[in-house]
């Protein structure tokens, strides 16, 4: 088991290097020169050349990359040229918001997706199942920016049940915090539950064909017990993968959702950094988020092995 963990862990290193390299290249390829952005109206050719030299922008890209990587490895991600904040300050300030948003969205996703999947699988091909198939594809095709606005108009403007925008830290007022988080999390969940539902449903249908289910039925166990206890766990392998991948998709979704709902999270930090060409923040944040995503997948791999011993022993 330890060897398995170690081997998986070693895979992380090349992945992270690739992430950092890609981030750096993409950030460098963004149109617009940082020196021009900083100098603005004072961007005379001489000033630009001087500033580019000061910032090392006149050096070849690989020199800059290794310089940056060297600092990163020492834990120094750099400072925003606009706000003076360090990358770590900015990230730690905003991470809790995005993290909470993701967890809430994931929970909502599972709460909507799992029961629906089980009901559909139990009566597969039935009217409800067919209806839900249509509904799931429908929901899957609604972009988050649209559902977000629709939810805001329904729940904030018309019904006045929930606030349209804003944020209160959980530590300050948990109830208010949840009120503010409700619509953003629901927006993300609405886009993600169809995937969960569809995958779990087909796995369930396969599981329900197994002999031991027939045996359980023959023993006279209640249908709900068979579904929730005997069939759910063996069917949930793909679900775990999907949930892991979802985390990555949720980070992407958070960029849009945090902007619309004005949540002070990582997504907003990224959008702001792109808009202002704050490359230091941009590179640092993408690298940290990338590392988080890779780590999440690593945990999923581990979870997989726990759920299904066959994988751990290398003969899946």
């Amino acid at each position: 088991m330890l060897l398995f963990v170690a081997r998986k862990f070693l895979y992380l290193i090349p992945v992270l290097i690739a992430v950092s390299l890609l981030t750096f290249c993409i950030a460098s390829l963004l149109p617009g020169d940082l020196a021009y952005t900083i100098l603005g109206d004072q961007a005379t050719p001489e000033n630009v050349a001087a500033l580019r030299h000061d910032m090392g922008l006149d050096q070849p890209i690989w020199v800059r990359y290794f310089g940056w990587l060297g600092h990163v490895l020492q834990g120094d991600f750099g400072r925003s040229f606009r706000t003076g904040q360090t990358v770590l300050q900015a990230v730690t300030e905003r991470l809790p918001v995005s993290f909470e948003l993701m967890i809430l969205a994931e929970i909502m996703c599972l709460v909507i997706g799992i029961p629906l999947a089980i009901i559909c699988a139990a009566r597969s091909g039935g009217v409800f199942d067919r209806f839900m198939t249509g509904a799931a594809f429908g929901m899957l095709s609604v972009p988050t920016f649209l559902s977000a606005i629709l939810l805001i108009y329904l729940f904030a403007v018309e019904l006045r049940w929930l606030p349209a925008t804003g944020y209160v830290p959980f530590g300050e007022d948990p109830a208010a915090n949840l009120r503010f988080m409700m619509l953003p999390a629901l927006t993300l969940a609405l886009a993600e539950w169809p995937g969960i539902m569809r995958v779990l449903r087909s796995d369930m249908i396969a599981t329900l064909q197994e002999d031991y289910i027939a045996l359980a039925k023959a023993k006279g166990l209640k249908a709900s017990r068979i579904l929730f206890v005997h069939a759910l766990k063996p069917s949930s392998l793909t679900l775990v993968t999907i949930t892991g991948i979802n985390i990555g998709r949720l980070i992407g979704g958070a960029v849009i959702v945090e902007t619309i709902f004005a949540l002070p999270g990582i997504g907003r930090l990224l959008v702001g950094a792109i808009g202002t060409r704050d490359l230091i923040i941009l590179q640092g944040v993408v690298l940290l988020v990338g590392a988080g995503f890779v780590l999440m997948n690593f945990i999923v791999d581990m979870l997989y092995a726990t759920l299904d011993p066959r994988i751990r022993h290398g003969h899946a």
Binding site: Y36, L39, G40, A43, V48, I152, T165, G166, P264, R268
Partner: protein, 514 residues
Amino acid sequence: MIAANRTSALVRIFLVAGFAISLCAVPANAQKAGGSITVGLELDIPGFDPLKVGVFDTAALTAASAIFESLTYLDDKGVAQPRLALSWTHSDDFKIWTFKLRPGVKFHDGTPFNAEAAKANFDRQKDPANKCRCAFYISAINNVQAPDELTLVYNLNDPSVNFPATILSYTNQNAAIQSPTAWKTKGEDYNRNPVGTGPFVLKSWTAGDRMVLERNPDYWDKDKIYLDRIIVKPLPDAQSRFASLQSGEADIIWDDEASADNIQRAEKDPKLKVHTYAGSGAAVAAFNTKVAPFDDVRVRQALVMALDRKKLSQALTNGLARPATNPYGDGSWVKCKDDGALPYDVEKAKALIKDYGKPVDFKMLVTATPRGRANGQVLQQFWKQVGANMEIEQVDQATIPPRAFMRQFQLTPWRIVDLADPDMQMYANFHTGSPVALANYSNPELDRLLEHARVTADQDQRNEDYCAISRLINKEAIWYWTFQNTYYAMSSTKVKGLPKMYSGVIDVSRVWLE
């Protein structure tokens, strides 16, 4: 009969007097003290240290107008009034301006505001070693002296007849007076912990979420301040920002013509009020007259005559944007009977292009945003109609100024911003040899008019000069103007007393809630 008349006259006098008294009484009662206002803006504020942020954008300006003060401010007529300065005088050539400062004013950190502090602000921005982007905007000021505690002297490079109304009149990166002690002691952290003399003090600031400003109990003019608290929030998405206003999370929000739908919806909503300020200046574009095909006046005139500004406004802003025919706009004190605008005339434009004889192909710089692209595409259609081929070159917003300064363009968009006096920008944009004279155009008559206008105190005479300038530029078609600058805010109807939004700044420091 006479007696009856007399009685009724008396009654009338009484009524009028009573009405007058009640008129006086109503506003006094209506200005209710207390309460908190939430302002929804588009952008995250990066900070307030000019060395760091360079220029304050509209979001920063809104917060700055509560935290800081400038020497003067503009009243509803656009005339400079005393704020941190009490009075001012000028030399005969309008190159030396002396300000008497308000005594007894303290920064939020308790240190005194005086001439030395104001000078320190200027010197810090001007110092070449600090490489402040903000230095560009004070390049007309040679130096500032503080001969005594409450006297401040500005020595200008060039005459400026309306100096107190221009650079000093609102709390931008240059004019906001910040506490020298605070920036020295706080160092890197000062940017996000600003200290001014204004009616509100920064209480807390969560990046990306909210900035809380509390009433300054020691403010020198505190009787005119009604709110207890101002909360400034970045709400980047236009739709959810508007929804926040409708649902009450925000009391007043910033907007622009890009979301014309929301502005028009708010106009019909009895619970909302749209605040509009028709400023001076305009969205403009400059032809590079040194390169073909724009070295020929016929081509330039043809392209300007092909512009259907009404249709452009309809296409881009639901007709909200106001067409501009001169660089000054309705908000300016410059009023021209004849600004020399070329008419919209497709046939004439076609004839001019035909007369030119060669194919008209050129590139226009366009900002790589949905709005920039839409703008470029509509213009492309207009010009295609008259036989000119425009190719859109999409560039990043930050790329436009350097490209413009290095004259690496054929046609570039630009903006004349809302300022109380046209001199600074008109001189910079059109005088021979100025770095911002983007058209690369030189005309002794134009230079003479610009020089005359900046040293003439008589406003009617200056008005004449500026109208002549407009006629000349329009005739030569070296720049063209599309839309005037209009600034918008939307609020709930309970927000009262919002001043004119000069330069687009939503200054809520003196509003009250009903």
